[in-house]
């Protein structure tokens, strides 16, 4: 890979990788560090990375960096930031449906959240998501379906509460 191809990859994928990480961990500076690391690794391994799989390579590196980051954060925090909490329906107006969904996604566990983000934001298929997250295709399918049904339950609960 030439530096031109690498710089094109920066233009094409830096935003997506950053969005994926920042939506997961909700910490901009840490997300920047993870993106930086992912592109550094791409640069170091530019001769061995398949030019057709640059995007998934970046997401794979970023995802694993993020998992490491979450583990480190968990060590130093008493409460789990991804601990499932119930959304208080009283303070969630109906017109803020999108915010409600995002909050509900944030309350999913890290694996489910990453699956949903890779699927909805990046449009990866189950097989590609499996490669990035080191899961089988059937595992991806089961986990995503479980996450969707969980989100559906939360939303229907909210709609009933607000009605």
């Amino acid at each position: 890979m030439t530096d031109i191809a690498y710089n094109n990859a920066v233009d094409q994928y830096a935003d997506g990788v950053y969005r994926f990480i920042v939506k997961n961990i909700h910490q901009e500076e840490d997300a920047r560090d993870i993106v930086q690391t992912a592109f550094e690794k791409l640069w170091v391994n530019r001769d061995t990375v398949d030019p057709l799989k640059i995007k998934s390579y970046l997401f794979t590196i970023a995802y694993h960096q993020m998992i490491d980051h979450i583990r480190k954060v968990k060590k130093y925090t008493t409460t789990d930031i991804y601990e499932t909490t119930t959304i208080d329906p009283v303070y969630q107006p109906q017109h803020e449906l999108r915010q409600t969904i995002l909050k509900a996604i944030h309350e999913l566990n890290p694996t489910q959240k990453s699956l949903i983000l890779l699927k909805d934001y990046e449009g990866y298929n189950y097989q590609e998501i499996g490669e990035i997250m080191n899961l089988s295709e059937s595992q991806v399918k089961v986990y995503i379906h479980r996450a969707r049904l969980q989100l559906k339950e939360k939303l229907s609960h909210l709609q009933k509460a607000s009605a």
């Binding site: 990788v17 969005r19 189950y126 379906h145």
Partner: protein, 277 residues
């Protein structure tokens, strides 16, 4: 593939994830057409999906690399970067230019401070010479005393200017007893005051006074002190001096000097940003 009330949910989830083939999608749509309740359920599931939002990574410049970029530059532009048109031409290394500029600046600073230190040492030497002058002046004829002490005042001027405000205020405070003692023609008091004076020039001048007790000499000393005091205040109160930078014997306008350094800085920054681009 056959959809029924037991397996439809799985197909709906695959449908919203675009994981079905065209024929499977058609089968799901056919099923939903005859099952409105399941069609509503599909709408709920579609509502759970999130639409992508654009979030920009603002610091892309920190990610770019330019290792081989020069190989693909416009030939005309690339040619302009070469020092020589010969076969062994090498690209001008911007880092080398930075190093050269830096070393020139370091040498210039070194010379500046070196000269500055030398000039300070010269001043100290002048002070020592001046301190020795009054003894010799006592041997001069009375008519020449005034002129000689005036010469001393010129020589000591530069060193007195360098003394701080505190010492000058002490100097001015000390003037009164000295002058009064001289006015009373009481030579015994003069050396006592002279010992208390911190300024060396002052001390040296006063030290010479007991040997020349003539009224003319005393008057000329008072004049010297008044002149010195006047010079001190002139130098301190002049704001223009703040803008002057002394490089050896040259006086450079500080504003112009700062302007040049600012422009140099801007050029270096522009080169750096162009390099990053």
């Amino acid at each position: 593939m056959e959809l029924n009330q037991n397996n439809y949910e799985n197909y709906l989830l695959l449908y919203i994830d675009n994981e079905l083939t065209a024929s499977e999608r058609a089968a799901v749509e056919l099923f939903l057409a005859s099952n409105p309740k399941q069609a509503d359920e599909l709408k709920v599931l579609q509502g759970v999906k999130i639409n992508p939002e654009h979030i920009e990574y603002t610091d892309k410049t920190s990610l770019y690399r330019f290792e081989e970029m020069n190989a693909t530059l416009d030939p005309a532009f690339k040619k302009s970067l070469y020092k020589n048109s010969s076969n062994n031409a090498k690209l001008i290394d911007i880092k080398k230019i930075y190093w050269a500029t830096g070393s020139i600046a370091a040498i210039a600073l070194g010379i500046f401070f070196g000269i500055k230190t030398l000039s300070i040492q010269t001043d100290i030497l002048q002070e020592q010479i001046v301190a020795s002058i009054p003894q010799s002046t006592t041997k001069l004829p009375e008519s020449n005393t005034n002129q000689t002490i005036n010469t001393i005042s010129i020589e000591t001027k530069s060193s007195i200017v360098k003394s701080n405000i505190q010492s000058t205020s002490e100097l001015s405070n000390k003037n009164l007893p000295i002058n009064t003692s001289i006015a009373r023609n009481d030579p015994a008091l003069i050396p006592v005051d002279a010992v208390n004076v911190e300024n060396k020039e002052k001390e040296s001048i006063i030290a010479s006074t007991p040997s020349s007790n003539t009224p003319l000499a005393n008057n000329s000393i008072i004049e010297v002190e008044q002149k010195n005091e006047k010079e001190v205040f002139e130098e301190i109160n002049t704001e223009d001096n703040d803008r002057i930078i002394h490089i050896s014997n040259f006086e450079v306008d500080g504003d112009k000097f700062r302007g040049i350094t600012r422009r140099l800085g801007a050029i270096l920054k522009r080169n750096k940003s162009e390099k990053n681009k």
